[in-house]
């Protein structure tokens, strides 16, 4: 009879190998690479903190950094509020819940590339559906994706549209976990809709809300697909974000070290924001 260790090794080996070579290894290697200068063709050179120093004075980097924040601030709160209200509406013993759920989930399962191309077409300034609809209510729609002012809001609207179904489903699961008896007890005491919402729904839903907030922020920091397809980061870098700049540095300018440094800034950003969330969670999340 073989020992437990033998079996554990056997079970773990294929997974561990992949984990070390394609997950943990690259994470560490990327950290090392961020202190080097390398174009893949000439030998790799140690660069110390050079990449990070360059980042600080790189105006494009700051531009894409703030664009990433802009995108996150534009998508996360609106997306969360909308999906929360839709989930609450869906939780009112509604008929056809499955159909609604499926419809809201349609954008989530569609490829971001296909979704981005459709939105590009909807945003077409002359023949797009959106400006036509705006025209019907007397608004002269902008040249969405081609102007510096409206390109980012346009990308944000499309991204919120795509993400609502996912958050809504999480909220719905959270809402269904709140015992009906709490509401009934409060109703007997004469509480109205707003009081129920504020004193029962919001606090009891807070663990779900916390999770949705953290996941949404992490995902928005890493946006790439729809930006690459819809605007290519333009016009004039007005929609370029951190991952887009990382992609360009690594695979268009072949600055592997610099790209890795951008990656670690992204990591640091995600890490810090998540940590702040965890610390602040004590004040508003009730388990």
């Amino acid at each position: 009879m073989y020992s437990d260790y033998f079996w554990a090794a056997l079970f773990l080996l294929p997974n561990l190998l992949g984990f070390l070579v394609f997950i943990l290894g690259p994470v560490i290697a990327s950290f090392g690479l961020s202190f080097t200068s390398w174009d893949l063709l000439t030998p790799i050179k140690w660069a110390g903190l050079e990449n990070y120093k360059t980042l600080i004075s790189d105006q494009v980097f700051w531009k894409v950094f703030w664009n990433t924040i802009y995108f996150t601030v534009g998508t996360v709160p609106v997306g969360i509020i909308l999906s929360l209200f839709l989930a609450i509406a869906l939780n009112q013993k509604i008929k056809g819940i499955k159909i609604f759920r499926a419809v809201y989930f349609l954008p989530v399962i569609s490829s971001t590339v296909a979704v981005a191309i459709v939105w590009q077409w909807l945003y077409n300034p002359e023949f797009g559906l959106l400006n036509y609809l705006l025209n019907l209510v007397g608004i002269d729609g902008p040249n969405w994706l081609a102007g510096i002012t409206w390109a980012m809001p346009a990308v944000i609207i499309a991204s919120v549209w795509r993400g609502i179904g996912f958050n809504m489903l999480l909220f719905l699961a959270g809402l269904q976990g709140i015992p009906e008896t709490y509401y009934e007890a409060a109703k007997i005491d004469g509480a109205n809709w707003w009081v129920l919402f504020k004193n029962i729904t919001i606090p009891l839903l807070s663990p779900t809300t916390f999770f949705v907030v953290v996941i949404s922020i992490i995902n928005s920091f890493q946006v790439f697909d729809q930006i690459y397809v819809m605007t290519g980061g333009g016009p004039a870098r007005s929609t370029s974000v951190l991952v887009h700049y990382l992609y360009q540095n690594a695979f268009q300018y072949f600055k592997m070290g610099y790209a890795s440094a951008i990656g670690y800034v992204l990591f640091f950003l995600v890490f810090t924001v998540t940590l702040i969330q965890l610390k602040r969670a004590k004040n508003w999340v009730f388990y």
């Binding site: 509406a89 509604i94 191309i117």
Partner: protein, 276 residues
Amino acid sequence: MKKKINQRLQIISYVVLTLGAITMVLPFLWMISTSLKSLGEVFVFPPTFFGEEIVWGNYPKVADRFPFGLFFLNSLKISFIVVFVQLFTSALAGFAFARLKFPFRDTLFALYLATLMIPYHITLVPIFVIMRYFGWIDTHYSLIIPSLVSAFGTFLMRQFFLTIPKELEDAARIDGCTPFGIFWRIFLPLSKPALATLGVFIFMGTWNDFIRPLIFINSISKMTIPLGLSAMQGMYSTDWPVLMAGSMISILPVLVVFIFAQEYFVRGITLSGLKG
């Protein structure tokens, strides 16, 4: 009185949900509508929902200009291999983490968990270097091999295996079953729902993956659907009917999977959501 309020709430809910649903569906309807129009009819003002006649020809045109059939097969092949192998590696390691004892088990698992928080894009440059070293750039290996293991899948399977009662395992052990026998004959059959959920997730992620094919694949014949769609958009940026037809084709397979496996999607999301 109470009934009235409930009814009013329900009516408001229906209105809100219907308005939202229209917003969700409209871009898709517009996609279908445009994909069935002639090029001339797309550029008319005001836009119409149906053209003079329904033009099916845009769909074959997609395949004329780009080998979309091949993209389809490429995506299908890559997705299937990744789904089945990743399910297997995740289940195996998930079983080890949940049910076997070995040194540093919890430390190692914590390491897996920690990588879940790290932006995945950090790994792109080193993986590119590894793929180049093996000569796998512009081959499907570069899309398959690095995706055969995932920390998320391992995590999900471990969580599921933890919920299976210990008694089942003990009974089998007493009967002389090896750990692999326990895994294969007891745990795997019991975890069909979890495997289906994870499988649907992996399929969706692999089918829709864009940045990796963008980085690793250059030849048109090796492209996946999202990359092919993006390449087509780069070349025919104003031929909206054909672009919309291509987009429709890219969405359909995931839609079919979704229709048949909606419950697994829902369960998977709540599972990953509430235990994360």
